[in-house]
């Protein structure tokens, strides 16, 4: 069993695909809830979440022994990660099948990326 990150990449300021009316929002939430229930029932779902926008991000780094905080995301990119799932899947084909369901439910492109390692490091 492998784990994959399915990340939703949103383009800043792009709203044309987002639900606009309360009815659309309701339908959207129902689709996502149904999909997550399906993921859970099949043992696929590990974790998932929606992130605040890049304006809420802070970069922490080390410079000459001092911790430096910088307001904003790593890179001033047009695209940023808006949310993600971490799933269990046997292989890429299985992960891609789930990715297809996610794209279908949220109407947004996602990136599928395999974990090289996951869980706690044990020494």
């Amino acid at each position: 069993m492998s784990q994959y990150l399915l990340s939703v990449h949103a383009v800043e300021g792009e709203v044309q695909r987002a639900p606009t009316t309360p009815e659309e929002m309701q339908a959207f939430m129902e689709r996502v809830a149904a999909l997550e229930a399906e993921m859970e029932a099949s043992g696929t779902f590990v974790f998932g979440g929606q992130l605040h926008g890049p304006d809420a991000a802070t970069v922490v780094s080390m410079s000459d022994g001092d911790l430096i905080m910088t307001d904003g995301p790593f890179a001033e990119a047009k695209e940023h990660i808006a949310g993600f799932y971490i799933i269990n899947a046997d292989d890429l084909d299985a992960a891609l099948a789930w990715a297809g369901k996610v794209v279908d439910a949220i109407n947004h492109p996602i990136e599928v990326r395999p974990f090289a390692a996951s869980g706690r490091v044990r020494v």
């Binding site: 046997d90 292989d91 890429l92 084909d93 990326r113 395999p114």
Partner: protein, 426 residues
């Protein structure tokens, strides 16, 4: 002296066997060990052992089985020796010991299934096209890295890097070694077929890369054998055979010869007969698809005793059908050119107007326009179109052909015998 000749023959024979069994052996090892790099290294080592032994004792009756057995033992040795390998060895121990003795394989059953699995891995849609092509030629075609590199005009180190990246992705993302489930098969098979066709066409564009054409045909033949119930695989094989049958007539003294001007006696009758037989079988099966229709169009061309005797109505009808399944500008272009032979150059121009915006950077669109204009006697505008085509042409052969065309138009203003560009290419 005779001894040297014999040794050379033997060396060539061994070389040929290596090429033939490489794909089978790598595919079998990948199934057993689940690791492409390990499989390649082990098969390479087995070849080194073989080239020593076979030269003295001769090629064994089942060279593929011999190579697989030797390579498997090598791979087990590596795994035992490396620490990470021991772990992997335990994991796969069960698999390796329950698989049938590779020495018993006779090139059918498991071996063929292994190759099929591997070709679907190499052509997985999660890999970019140039990686699909490179992997297919290296792992299944058995071409050396330098040969694959030469075929795609990149340096050997760039190609080696490309192959490493592609294999890394297969391993890291866990692209499976498996024939896709029935639901995904049509789409996944399309990707395999288009990789093979791309390999073939790369060999058509440059005669020095002719090895790609025979390699593509060999792989398509294998695919048809593996999936006899897939009419599109058969369609691709027929398309390539019928196109290949005309190769001997396609060039004279290094220059491109158009379909219209080809010496049809030079066409390879054996390939035409095989291609025709496949097309007829496809028609009986009645599950048309893009490759089968393109093969049928080529079959009509190969059937005609002369360019003038070609059944153009049939060709236009087949293009209509193809366009309904594959509504791309390039198909529309070929259909427009065929219309020239049934309805004349005026009809070609109006058909081209509709697709011109999509194909403004495609040299064959401008060449087709130039040809139609020339047939209408509009020499100046024809020359402009040919010049644009020459600027956009991607191969030296096409550029030279178009340059000659422009020269003729410039030189001989009174030339009244027009030789339009061929209807569906050479």
């Amino acid at each position: 002296m005779n001894r040297t000749v014999a040794r050379d023959d033997e060396a060539t024979a061994v070389e040929r066997v290596f090429r033939d069994v490489y794909g089978q052996a790598v595919a079998a090892l990948v199934r057993i060990f689940g690791d492409i790099t390990l499989a390649e290294d082990a098969v390479q080592d087995a070849f080194v052992v073989a080239s020593d032994q076979w030269r003295t004792v001769g090629i064994p009756p089942n060279p593929a089985g011999w190579i697989v057995t030797t390579a498997r033992n090598r791979a087990i040795d590596y795994l035992r020796r490396s620490a990470r390998g021991r772990e992997l060895h335990e994991q796969i121990g069960a698999v390796a010991s329950t698989s049938p003795d590779p020495g018993d394989w006779r090139g059918d059953g498991p071996v063929i299934d292994d190759q099929l699995r591997l070709i679907f891995t190499c052509c997985h849609p999660a890999l970019r096209t140039e990686h699909q092509v490179a992997l297919t030629l290296r792992l299944l075609g058995g071409l050396r890295v330098e040969e694959v590199a030469r075929s795609f005009l990149v340096s050997e180190s760039a190609m080696a890097k490309r192959l490493v990246r592609a294999k890394y992705k297969i391993k890291a993302a866990k692209i499976p070694y498996r024939v896709p489930a029935a639901a995904d098969l049509p789409e996944r098979l399309r990707s395999v077929l288009s990789v093979l066709y791309l390999i073939y066409n790369t060999g058509v564009d440059d005669p020095e890369r002719g090895v790609l054409r025979s390699e593509a045909i060999r792989l398509a033949r294998a695919l048809v054998e593996l999936m006899p119930d897939e009419p599109e695989a058969a369609g691709l094989l027929a398309l390539m055979l019928l196109s290949e049958s005309r190769a001997p007539a396609r060039a004279a003294e290094g220059a491109l010869v158009l379909l219209r001007d080809q010496d049809r006696c030079k066409w390879n009758r054996t390939m035409i007969e095989e291609g025709h037989a496949i097309v007829r079988a496809c028609i009986r099966r009645d599950q048309p698809g893009p490759f089968q229709l393109q093969a049928a169009i080529q079959a009509v061309h190969c059937d005609a005793a002369s360019f003038e005797a070609t059944d153009w109505r049939q060709i236009v009808a087949l293009y209509d059908h193809l366009l309904s399944l594959m509504p791309t500008p390039v198909v529309a272009l070929n259909r427009a050119i065929a219309i020239g032979e049934t309805e004349g150059p005026g009809a070609v121009l109006s058909a081209l107007d509709a697709i011109a915006p999509d194909l403004d950077n495609y040299h064959l669109m401008h060449a087709a326009r130039g040809t139609a204009l020339l047939r209408l006697g509009r020499r100046d505008t024809a020359k402009v179109a040919f010049e644009r085509a020459a600027d956009l042409a991607t191969t030296e052969k096409d550029r030279r052909f178009l340059a000659q065309k422009i020269e003729e138009l410039a030189e001989d203003g009174a030339l009244m015998q027009h030789r339009p560009l061929g209807s569906t290419g050479p």
